[in-house]
Amino acid sequence: MPDDAIRCDACPVLCYIKPGRTGACDRYGNHDGQLVRLDPHVVLDRAVSRGDSIVPFLDRDRDWDGNIVSGPENFVTAIGAGTTYPDYKPAPFIISSAVQGVDMVTVVTEGIFSYCGVKLKIDTDRHLGPETNLVRAQGEPIGHVTTSEYGSQMLSLGGVRHLTGGSRREGTVTCETLLNLCNGKAVELGIDEGATVLVQAGKPPVVDGVQEERMRVGCGSATIGMFAKQWFGKVDEVVVVDDHITGVLSEHQAGKLLGIPETGIKIKGHRSTPGRYFRVAEPGTAWGGTNIEAPLSILQDFNPKIAWPRLRLLMVSTTGEHHAYFELDEDLQPVEKDLPSSLSESVTRIKENCEPALCTVLFMGGAGGSLRAGVTENPVRLTHAVRDALTRVTCGGTPVYVWPGGGITFMVDVSRMPENGFGYVPTPALVAPIEFTLKLSDYAALGGYMDHVRSLDSMMSDERRRHLSARENNPWPLSSPTRPRPER
């Protein structure tokens, strides 16, 4: 190569970009030999409240209403801010504003994260693959199956080992997959000895081609536990049909405690503990994730010594989508009847308690490294200030959870961030926005770059800014100068 120009591979134009210039799109540029995304700077606008999600106004569309609101109604995010590599240079934007009479400063930068990854929660009871098995994208290992949670399978993706420790292609594919997940795009993942799953933040997972609709309220046993009291007195026996554990009210601990008498019911399947049965049927798409079409098929005859005529029996699935009501005749045979209104409420409640199955993506990264030097000449003081809640950390204006202990390791729900907030560099590493907000006096005390502080007004006149309305469910990044507002 004759000079320091780099080839951009963001689109098929494949621009050859000189240092300090941008490609044909004006979105990617050559910054000191690194390909960086240079989208217009995102400014959250508190004054404009939209019912829908944040939607960027287009830079070339010139479509904003011309209102320039000043002061704390605006928060400058790091999206598109760029970085100042090497990190000892002051961050690209250090912006002051007065919030309720207190001078605040927000240090705005885009961090280049090699130590970063995604924790992916997939709401499904389906077996996606054995714990610790590799998760692959485009055939490359990019993560692994980790400990499952209640109703959800968990994947841990990315991390420095896949990004920079493996082959070039492994790193590139890992970076691309993380970037797509973080920017809300759909990604197909394959699990060794397991399923292929299509995941996208905020959307239902598609496991081996089948879209997951709802999470069950709990297993059959848990459902008995939750609703026993609501059934008490209205029905003599309840069977909650479930692929995992089918529950029986009269035998279950919850029924015993309420003093519900035995009914002489007999369930086919393996009894685990009282009122809890494994393997009443094969997995399927009918009742409670089983292959059961006719619920009575899992019952044997009632014990004639215990059961009685007109015994009332409710059978229901763990999602409430399937239910049937029976009464025993004189020969103790169940006869299907209309569901009494006194019971329909509890069936509806099971349905209400089933939440939509979603994929959720938390980005996790370590901001405890050298990027701190762009904030202060004494980096550990920034870590301490974050620890002491004097400094608020946000990611594209979105609240983060800072993991306790050393460093600034944080997690953020990508679905609460402005669209396309993440970028990448060909290292490969992810670029994530990060803002540190603190009192101007605290900033001076921790050795901040006071001579680089610029006013918010000077930002607002910059034509390259992109103006977004803030999300209603996010706390306003500047809302409380000293204490972070508890997250809802």
């Binding site: 963001a10 098929p12 134009v13 799109c25 287009l58 070339r60």
Partner: protein, 306 residues
């Protein structure tokens, strides 16, 4: 890493935004809801392959247009080549000068062959293709400088006129210019024609060798530029009123010759607040600072050249 094309509705719920690499389109159709939907669907199906098609012939499209040059294969590339063909051999131009207009035209034609909207436009970064059913019209806002969008005039375009394309060119815009015009806005029969003509006229608004004009070889800024080592304008310093007039005269002369060849229908040339108009601009209103018809500006803002 290849970013995928993005297609979505803008927050107003009416306009479609399509983006892929350097292509950024704002699309709007009017009329019956089912026609709008069909038009948008057609646009969304057509769009994802547009950039790949163009890039597959990029080398050819970056060559100076010559009367004997091979014709490209792709539909959009053909529109580009056709739009610059009248200039081949007469002056320097490449098919890339018409790329934005040609993309706008292609998407608009895709929409109007799949559906029957009463009106529609495709705005490709200020290069606009228009469609009207008989009796329909658009009010179009025009700007003096593409980097500082404020309307100076609005034009009324209707179905009886031949104009179906608008384009703006100038050294302050996204693309390199060989001239010093702040903006040249052209109305022509097709968007690709307007795009090519705006480039030609903006290049002609010039003061060759003037010491106040800073120029650098195009390749020093963009090694892949179709302009090669030609000097592109980077800054324009002090100009006297007579120099401004001379530069505009040079551009207006070229505009009039294009007008007589029916390559354009009208052109507005801007330099340092001075404006020359060639041909008839169907002016709907003059927008002076802070006054005038605010609502009309708002409703037509999406057509403003940027």
């Amino acid at each position: 890493m290849r970013e995928r094309p993005q297609i979505r509705l803008l927050p107003d719920g009416r306009r479609l935004h399509m983006h892929d690499g350097p292509i950024d389109l704002i699309v709007e159709a009017f009329g019956a809801v089912c026609e709008i939907r069909a038009a948008y669907n057609a646009a969304a199906v057509r769009f994802p392959t547009v950039l790949e098609e163009l890039c597959s012939e990029l080398c050819l499209l970056r060559q100076p247009a010559r009367p004997d040059a091979p014709f490209p294969e792709g539909r959009i590339a053909k529109r580009m080549a056709a739009a610059v063909a009248p200039y081949a051999g007469r002056t320097f131009i490449t098919a890339m000068a018409a790329v934005a207009g040609a993309v706008a035209e292609e998407i608009l034609e895709t929409m109007t062959s799949a559906a029957d909207p009463s009106r529609a436009y495709v705005n490709d970064g200020g290069d606009i293709a228009l469609h009207f059913a008989p009796g329909e019209h658009f009010v179009v806002g025009m700007v003096e400088r593409p980097d500082r969008p404020s309307l100076f005039v609005t034009a009324m375009l209707d179905s009886r006129q031949p104009v179906r394309g608008i384009a703006t060119s100038g050294w302050r815009g996204r693309s390199f210019s060989l001239g010093i015009a702040d903006a040249v806005t052209v109305l022509a029969d097709r968007a690709a024609m307007a795009d090519a003509a705006a480039t030609i006229i903006a290049n002609a608004v010039d003061l060759p060798g003037h010491p106040s004009v800073m120029r650098v070889p195009a390749y020093s800024l963009d090694p892949d530029s179709d302009l090669g080592d030609r000097p592109v304008t980077q800054d324009v310093g002090q100009l006297s009123p007579s120099e401004i007039a001379a530069a505009l005269d040079a551009g207006a002369a070229v505009a009039r010759s294009l007008l007589s060849d029916a390559l354009i229908r009208s052109a507005a040339l801007h330099l340092r607040g001075e404006t020359r108009v060639a041909g008839a601009v169907p002016i709907a209103g003059i927008v002076s600072c802070g006054a005038s018809n605010h609502e009309e500006m708002r409703s037509n803002r999406s057509l403003v050249h940027a």
